[in-house]
Amino acid sequence: MTDGMNRRGFLKVLGATGGGAVALSGCSSENAERLIPYLVPPENQIPGTATYYATTCRECSAGCGLHVKVREGRAIKLEGNPGSAVNAGKLCAIGQAGLQGLYNPDRVTAPMKKGADGQFAEISWEDAVGEIVGRLGAEAGERIAFLSGNEAGTFDALVKEWLAAHGSSRHVVYETMGYEALRAANQQLFGIDSLPTYDFSEARFVISFGADFLETYLSPVQNTRGFSEAHSFNHGEMGRYVHVDPRMGQSAIQADEWIAPNPGSEGAVALAMAHVILRDGTGNTPRDVNRVRPLIEGMTPEAAEQASGVSAEVIERLAREFTAHRSVALGGGMGAQHDAADSTAIAVMLLNYVAGNLGETVKFKLDAPAAAGSYADLMALAGSMNDGNVGVLFVHGTNPVYNQSGFGSAMANAGLKVSFSSYMDETANECDLVLPDNHPLEQWNDFRPASGGYLLQQPVMQTVFDTRQTGDVLLTLATATGNNGGGLAAANYKEYLRAEWRNIQRTVRDRQGFEVFWNSSLQHGGVVQDAGDTQVRLANSAAQAQISTWVPSGDGLTFIAYPSPTMGDGRGANKPWLQELPDPISKITWGSWLEVSPATAEELGVVSGDLVYVSSSTYRWEGDKLPVFVYPGIRDGVVAMPMGQGHEAYGRYAANGTANATNFLADGPTGFGGRSHYNTVTVEFSGGEHETLAQTMGRNRQMGRGIAQFTTLAALIDGHGEEEHGAEHAAPVPEHIEEIIDEWQEAQWDDFRDKGNYAGEHPRWAMSVDLAKCTGCNACVTACYAENNLPTVGKEQVQRGREMSWIRIERYFEGGEHGEPHEISLLPMMCQQCTNAPCEPVCPVFAAYHTPDGLNGQIYNRCVGTRYCANNCPYKVRYFNYFDHQKQGDPVFSFPEPLNWQLNPDVTVRSKGVMEKCTFCVQRIRGAQHDASTDGRDLIDGDIQTACQQTCPADAIVFGDLNDPNSRVSQLSNDERAYHVLGGLNTKPGVTYLKQVRNRAEA
């Protein structure tokens, strides 16, 4: 097996145990490699075993705890910190892909300075600091501005202190997803500018008004965990979830009912529900509701029907359901942030308020940091730069030029622009100096999420490049300019941080010695104590609240730019894992698309894949044309596009020539200071131009094959859970035939039960997947990429269907035609580890075979590449290496230095011509068996977690031994909802699916 980039190559760089120049061939003769010993043994590290470091994920503002798996001094995988209150050991796809930010081949490797020719050239750190110091001498006071992303925590404090020391207070915070509408509503109603936390686990009725709470909204992993508990089927009970939004996004897949109101009118529905509750007195309404009573009473269900097109009856029913259970209503999602989004958020908060949910399922944490910054602030800064009032601009952790093209031209009017970006993104390109910050995994830092607590970050490895932590740079600058009084006298940022944590220790009333507290915080990833909730009550300003609906400007189609579940606001775009991660809805990779409803598509005369021009009143994208994706889950007359693609800089993966959704949005802040993600556009199709979508679904519907099955709550309660919905045509195997088959099978197996490796007792590894829990978030997919060294293959190969995703989420549209409601069925599909695996007997060389412990083994080095196994796999979960993905210079090279550093040394990197597939993370199974053997104990249920299971925020995946009747997986496999995909083929899969349960509205 050729191993251009092999396990050993990995071991080399830090070389605890072994290493090597790239060894070319390997079946027998090995090239001499080099072993480089450590000078001093690193703490806690044993070569060949992983060390885990606790730190905090900074890919979004949720503040998930991380356990970083480090092998031989290199971070190789990001996993959730089981002790974290936010994510409890789970981690989303974006969070896991943080590793590819660390090892991004397009990282800025050293300080850069823009020359007279506009090209960047490397300079030394000393020179770079000197340049700034020189300029700081000339500029002072408010002419110094610091633009950053959400840095709630010590860094924020440092920036403020540093600016103050230099006489400035201009710290502008800008996050693309700033939730300005939600915050404005909280400000207006309750007088607090902060973001709420939702306690889903207590709720049994969830209604979302355009909030993508399972995708990007506030804290998606936390939301998914809670929602999974609230909504999954459990002993005859489950919650109900209604989604109100013109577009059915990933979150809405789980919705039991999807209501598509007129665009921008969700607020009216929410307020009318509040109206009904107040009218009927069914809610646990606080007494001070009278302040807003006129507002609520003004919105009758009938009025709401007028505004939204949702019938009054439905609104009445929803209101009844809302108070019949513990409930939660969500609003203010970025994908629904139109000009009247503050109205929506106000209405939703009022709905929660009248139902008595505040403090119950909707909480404002006492220790939540105050929110800061908005789109309006950014635009104000742009204005100020245009007026020549900014002499020195620092940019850290935000990339406004990408989604606000006017900001770039404004920057031209600022003096010295200094970026701390790790990547040459659009904003860094406009700067004079780029002083690359350490990646969050290389940093000392802390973070305070809206859900409360103080989270620590520690460097998990040496810096990959010649980068420096921005905190250190600021301290150096302060020393150089002599403005280093107070906390700025700290020797380095770590000391500054520790000083800050002495305060935190006091705040959390910890009475141990500081070092004990510090070390314990490091081990746990921070301190989280339930600081309690803010007791919110209606502020005086609540009486002035107004409710409006969004009014389209001019004719045309309503355009929605929604946050992409894979790209986020765009910062995921330079990570190949995320680019290749199929969008949960469209299943499109490596580019953007325009979602169009079937009726609208017919009007436009387009089908999926047709290339269209989209133009708004201010913008028309000339770069290329945008492919259409016909989607039944979007309201007629509405088109939608994911944010995050269409970068012009930001690295080879990001700058992929597709369109940027935010460009089609109107400039300028809305009344509440945010940006409207709605606009009116026209779509033109000249005819004839078409591209093959880089889509990972062959067909969008399951053609009655019963792949992803569902049942209804009512059927389960009535004891008809075994009924196959969506599998009308699959003829079941008659029972007596099945008996004969089973008997015959037993007889066959007797042959090998006492032979060779098959003799004796063995586990039968198996998995169960609860479709009622799966939200299609793709976290498992990225976990698999990370754990099993899966290559990313790029757009062209995905168009040929050659993606290597060992686990994929199959997404099937149901209904949506002939007046039936549109629904989506999901099914995570990985190797089913069939007992009677069709792939095995056809392999001529036993590369595919059955292990004694029930795995469907795939021996890569034995594989000749006949691909017969893949033909014969009914589930199509075998993936072939068409190219040498790990080889430099290959057409589809997946691991440009240093991306190869992420490779898991426990898993063989496959060469070209070899079939590969999921083996239930056999390296983890063997690893756990080794550990148990070393410790002299037996494995117990739960000792082994597959990568997908470990990260699943919904806890949908359970792995274990089927031969152990007490294991979780055994019990789940005998559930009334259990079924095998294509079970009629008698493959006897090891993966059991539990049917999705739809909690239909009571008639």
Partner: protein, 449 residues
């Protein structure tokens, strides 16, 4: 047809004329031959370059689009194996049936068999991901202490194809020995030396003929079940799987009939120009073509019936996957391939019910080309179209071959014709001894028995 009849001589065939006429087919070739050989070598170079390109970069340069993991290579593999079959049918099965007319055409057919198997045998190698490890399919003792999986139809295939190649080559060589001896006794110069060696000391003694005829009979008797088994085994490459459209009991006879059908067509394709170029129209006559076209008609009817049965069973079984697969064949993305196949193989052979058409050589030539095309598409439909529409709707894809695959396919034709050209100019393309066997040697007295 009048034109073809005109070219036939009226002079009766005698032992002497046969030896002479066949011997005249060899000898120093003209410019046309070298032009043909040049074209063939160019094709081979294109194929070779494509293959090297594929080995260098990986199978990704071919058009494989999962779930279509097998494409043009396996299609062409089955095509060539199929071509091979009629050769053995004519040389062995018809021999057992004492079918006298076969003698004139069997050598061409048998040579075609060997070269077609030689061509076919390349494709499993070309198509595997790691060509350099393909020898792992052979059960040889190795330090890894591993054996091969005899349950895999691919291993059966390995055994079947290599046995077939060995046996048909043996059969060809055994058949050639007396003819080469004839050539030896006529040739001069280096050819004499060549034939002296390759005739293996054949002199046509009574003892030699005694053992020879027996051995030939047994070889034919062994080749007969072999030829039936080889394409059955090839068909089991598909039928043993669970792919809808593949998993069918009809596959073995269906494939064997199809193989003979395509092979006979290829024999016609080859014989028509050959008899003209070699001026042996009096040895390979229109009667021979009529007999071949009857074979074509018979197997064509079987193939057409198989098409019908496939669809019928897909419907009759009630299996939704089978039904969907066959619906997709006829009306899905590859409808054109299916209808090409049905037109060429299912409809066109009906023309052969007309004797006039059976005896029209230009007509047969054109028809044989259509049948070749149709049979290639039959395999394409069975392999690619079935795979593209399997069980999992999430994994359905559309496969389009790339230049590499077309290049290699072109190379395979070049490879085949290269051997045929080299053979035709150096060895008898008509069996001298066997043609002699069926015409009377002069007698002094007329015998009435």
């Amino acid at each position: 047809m009048a034109t073809s009849v005109q070219t036939e001589r009226t002079e009766p065939n005698t032992y002497a004329t046969i030896t002479r006429d066949v011997f005249n087919t060899i000898g120093n070739p003209g410019r046309g031959y070298y032009v043909l050989l040049g074209i063939v070598l160019c094709g081979l170079a294109i194929g070779g370059f494509s293959l090297l390109w594929q080995i260098r970069w990986g199978l990704g340069v071919a058009g494989y689009t999962p779930p279509v993991f097998w494409g043009v290579y396996i299609t062409t593999f089955v095509f060539w194996v199929g071509i091979a079959h009629s050769g053995t049918l004519i040389s062995a099965i018809l021999f057992l049936f004492r079918s006298a007319w076969r003698t004139a055409v069997y050598r061409t057919a048998e040579a075609m068999t060997v070269f077609a198997v030689m061509t076919a045998g390349l494709f499993p190698l070309i198509h595997v991901g790691r060509l350099w490890y393909a020898y792992w399919l052979i059960p040889y003792p190795n330090q890894r202490q591993l054996w091969v999986n005899f349950k895999s139809p691919l291993v059966w295939d390995l055994f079947a194809i290599s046995t077939y190649l060995t046996v048909s080559t043996t059969f060809l060589i055994v058949g050639l020995i007396p003819d080469i001896a004839s050539f030896r006794d006529k040739a001069t110069g280096w050819r004499k030396k060549l034939y002296s060696i390759t005739s293996l000391g054949w002199r046509g003694t009574d003892q030699q003929w005694r053992h020879y005829t027996r051995a030939y009979l047994y070889l034919a008797a062994l080749a007969t079940p072999l030829v039936l088994s080889v394409h059955s085994v090839v068909s089991w490459d598909f039928a043993m799987s669970i792919v809808p459209g593949w998993h069918a009991t009809i596959f073995a006879p269906y494939f064997v009939a199809g193989a003979i059908y395509s092979g006979v067509a290829m024999v016609i394709t080859l014989l028509v120009p050959m008899r003209k170029i070699f001026k042996i129209e009096h040895i390979i006559t229109v009667d021979h073509f009529e007999n071949l076209s009857k074979l074509l008609l018979l197997t064509g009817m079987i193939v057409g019936y198989a098409y019908f049965v496939e669809y019928f069973i897909a419907w009759y079984s009630g299996n939704p996957f089978e039904r969907a697969s066959f619906w997709n064949r006829a009306f899905g993305e590859y409808w054109w391939a299916t209808w090409t196949m049905i037109l060429c193989n299912g409809a066109l052979p009906w023309l052969l019910w007309y004797k006039k058409l059976r005896r029209s050589i230009p007509m047969l030539f054109v028809l044989s080309l259509f049948v070749n095309l149709g049979m290639w598409f039959e395999r394409f439909v069975i392999i690619v179209v079935s795979l593209s529409f399997e069980y999992s709707p999430a994994a359905m894809g559309h496969y389009t071959p790339t230049w590499v695959e077309w290049g290699i396919m072109l190379g395979s034709f070049a490879w085949f014709f290269m051997w045929l050209l080299l053979f035709a100019k150096n060895f008898p393309m008509v069996s001298i001894a066997e043609v002699k066997e069926i015409i009377p040697l002069p007698r002094k007295k007329e015998v009435h028995q």
